[in-house]
């Protein structure tokens, strides 16, 4: 075997092993390829509203969307409800939609909750947690600020004040 042939065989074998190496590293850094991240398009979905009619996220294209995942057992979710409602009222004419996604509760419980806390924006029911899982929701409340093009501008985990919501809403309304 001459030197060039030997080198090219070695290069080929090392090349295959290098591909395996890069692949192994890639999979350890990108653990969840479907992770929902700021800067990416918000995954489309469809869920029934409290009144039964389904709503698609893609139907809201052209509008800025505040997507809020909540549950009636979560204290900070209750606390931020009036602030969300207030921002919805002030900005809905400018093209803002606040969408609340309830995590796995019964319509009866959701109905009485939103009446108690005065939420008038659309509430979607994620009965079997499909969308909660799709959006990789950990602690709640988790809120996605989605711009008019359907791109996620920011993900906020935890309770938001009126001022925080106002500032982020201003960004996505631009």
């Amino acid at each position: 075997m001459n030197t060039t042939k030997r080198t090219s065989i070695r290069v080929a074998i090392l090349g295959v092993l290098l591909i395996a190496f890069v692949f192994a590293l890639y999979t350890s850094f990108v653990k969840d390829p479907h992770q929902v991240k700021a800067g990416n398009a918000a995954p489309n979905f469809s869920l029934p509203q409290l009144n039964g009619t389904p709503m698609k996220l893609s139907d809201l294209k052209g509008k800025a969307v505040v997507l809020n995942f909540w549950g009636s057992w979560c204290e900070p979710c209750k606390a931020e409800m009036p602030a969300l409602q207030k921002q919805y009222e002030t900005n809905k004419d400018k093209g803002l939609v606040v969408v609340g996604v309830n995590i796995g509760e019964t319509p009866v419980a959701v109905q009485s909750f939103i009446e108690q806390y005065g939420a008038k924006f659309p509430i979607l029911l994620d009965r079997d947690l499909q969308i909660t899982k799709l959006y990789r929701i950990g602690p709640i409340p988790t809120t996605f600020f989605i711009d008019r093009e359907g791109e996620i501008e920011e993900i906020y985990i935890g309770q938001m004040t009126d001022a925080i919501i106002a500032q982020k809403v201003a960004q996505i309304l631009e």
Partner: protein, 544 residues
């Protein structure tokens, strides 16, 4: 003079220990290399291993690095130590508090184990098997496996496919088993060699002959055992790597209530729990009387399930269009299999509250039961008619009732652990009364209510935990394991034996080599000597 040229006239590649042609140890003194202290090791037949001799380009250097067995052992040791360190603190999946964000995980290790915990987390020991450096080590071990094997198997193959016949006497004398006859012995080589060949052929040896030399060889393939074994390991590692490709591996868990149909995350499938049951051993089935104190021993855990595929899976959350694809019982160790998907029985929550039952009593008619009311805890109806002209409306529902900080009723979780209902009973006659059910009692807001609710036995349901697995890499991993076993069997149950018989300088020379079981080879050669009646005494060098 060409230093690589043997006195027999053959030119050997640099690094050769035993002349490829005549088997004479290559004279290192002349080449200025350190003298061979003893007869070279026969493991690679004294062949030159290229990696040890050339290191010109960067590619050669990388190759030589991985070709070293010392490096391979070091890599394996580092991996072993890292795996051991990974068991000091719990892995991320097993930390005792529910944490969901990366920051929480980091905080957990720091707060629980102090500075060492922080370092542990920073180095990725908390999630060892997917940390980049652990994977790097594994790929390096794989690389070393490939290169070490190639570097040794190729020269070995070349050497063994040219049987060493009519070798230099120093080669025969260098073998571990060697003996010769005295010069004056009356042996006729023309008769002795064919007789020995005949004897060895009957013993199953393959023979190579020249006029005054005989080589008998058996089970050469056993030498390939370790390399086939390595191929098996590489296939195995490759299979493990395949799991990271999207769609190759799935590991999900779903809780399904009896009667409920749930979607299996990351698949287009839905599974329905038709019914769940735990069967217990009957005392008559037990071989001896056990003192169970009223307890029971479960026999089977079984979910009767239906698997559906959602034809409308493109848009998550959209109303599913389900088509049944599989149906049947799921028992422990007997999963439901559909294509690549396997659904295992793997958990149960039995006797959970499913629905509350009440009898509606008319107090004006002497507590006569006028109807019955069922409140499904997972999907309560907003309004239902319980009797002619009497409807019950659910005003409020708190599945896990607690009194909130603000003095208002609230729920702790979304699970019906402690259901609380606010109801309104209305009759056609214009009666409107509010009732509250909480913790087993019903309270009416009116002092003298017309209607009362009597608590009946609630509905209990079983919630089955199903594990959903898909692993397309399994056939590859099993195939690798099979090849591995084939290699092990080849290398352990057979021995590569060679016996040389050579007549030279008026003496009969006898030498033997095997890769294991020297005792067996020695017995065989002694039997040959005895049968042939040769005046030869075998000497075995070193310990066997």
């Amino acid at each position: 003079m060409d230093v690589r040229k043997c006195e027999c006239g053959h030119t050997n590649p640099v690094g050769t220990m035993l002349c490829e042609s005549c088997g004479k140890p290559v004279d290192f003194q002349e080449s200025g290399q350190p003298e061979q202290a003893a007869f070279p090791d026969m493991r690679y037949e004294g062949m030159a291993r290229r990696s040890q001799t050339y290191s010109r380009t960067i590619i050669d250097r990388i190759w030589n690095f991985f070709s070293s067995v010392k490096i391979a052992i070091a890599l394996i040791l580092i991996t072993l130590i890292a795996s051991a360190v990974g068991t000091i603190f719990p892995q991320q999946d097993y930390i005792p508090v529910p944490v969901s964000t990366e920051a929480d995980i980091a905080r957990f290790y720091g707060e629980t184990y102090g500075k060492i915990g922080e370092i542990y987390y920073a180095l990725g020991f908390h999630n060892l098997y997917s940390s980049w450096w652990f994977k790097t080590l594994l790929v390096f071990i794989g690389t070393s496996l490939v290169i070490c094997s190639l570097d040794r198997v190729i020269p070995l193959y070349k050497a063994l496919s040219r049987p060493r016949l009519n070798q230099h006497l120093s080669f025969l004398k260098g073998q571990k088993l060697y003996g010769n006859s005295p010069e004056e012995a009356s042996i006729d080589p023309a008769a002795a060699l064919p007789a020995a060949a005949d004897f060895l052929a009957r013993k199953g040896y393959r023979l190579f002959r020249e006029e005054n030399a005989l080589l008998a060889e058996k089970a050469r393939f056993s030498r390939w055992g370790p390399y086939i074994n390595h191929i098996g390991l590489i296939i195995f590692l490759f299979g493990v790597l395949l799991r990271s490709i999207p769609g190759f591996y799935l590991d999900q868990f779903v809780w399904v209530r009896e009667g409920q149909t749930v979607s299996i995350p990351e698949t287009p499938y839905y599974v329905k729990n038709v019914a769940y049951k735990t069967e217990y051993w009957d005392e008559s089935e037990m071989p001896e009387k056990l003192n169970l104190n009223g307890g029971a021993i479960p026999k089977t855990y079984q979910t009767d399930a239906v698997l559906y595929v959602n034809k409308n899976a493109d848009l998550p959350g959209a109303k599913p269009e389900l088509a049944e694809v599989a149906k049947g019982p799921i028992l422990v160790n007997h999963p439901m299999i559909y294509e690549d998907l396997a659904i295992y029985q793997s958990g149960v929550k039995e006797m959970e509250l499913g629905a509350l039952n009440f009898a509606v009593l008319d107090r004006k008619a002497g507590n006569k039961q006028v109807g019955s009311l069922k409140l499904d805890l997972y999907a309560p109806q907003t309004e239902q008619q319980v009797a002619e002209g009497i409807t019950v409306r659910v005003l409020d529902y708190f599945p896990d009732f607690v009194m909130g900080n603000d003095g208002k009723p609230a729920t702790k979780t979304n699970q019906p652990n402690n259901p609380m209902f606010a109801l309104e009973i209305a009759s056609a006659e214009g009666v409107k009364e509010k009732l509250v059910y909480v913790s087993g009692t019903v309270i009416s807001d009116s002092k003298d209510p017309r209607y009362a609710l009597e608590v009946k036995m609630p509905d209990f349901i079983d919630i089955s935990g199903l594990m959903v697995r898909k692993d397309k890499a399994v056939p590859v991993i099993y195939f690798g394991a099979l090849i591995f076993m084939v290699g092990v069997v080849m290398g352990t149950y057979w021995q590569h034996r060679r016996i040389w018989v050579q007549w030279e300088n008026g003496r009969l020379h006898l030498a033997g080599h095997t890769n294991k079981n020297w005792f067996g080879l020695r017995k065989e050669m002694e039997l040959l000597i005895a049968k042939m009646n040769w005046p030869v005494t075998l000497v075995q060098k070193g310990k066997s």
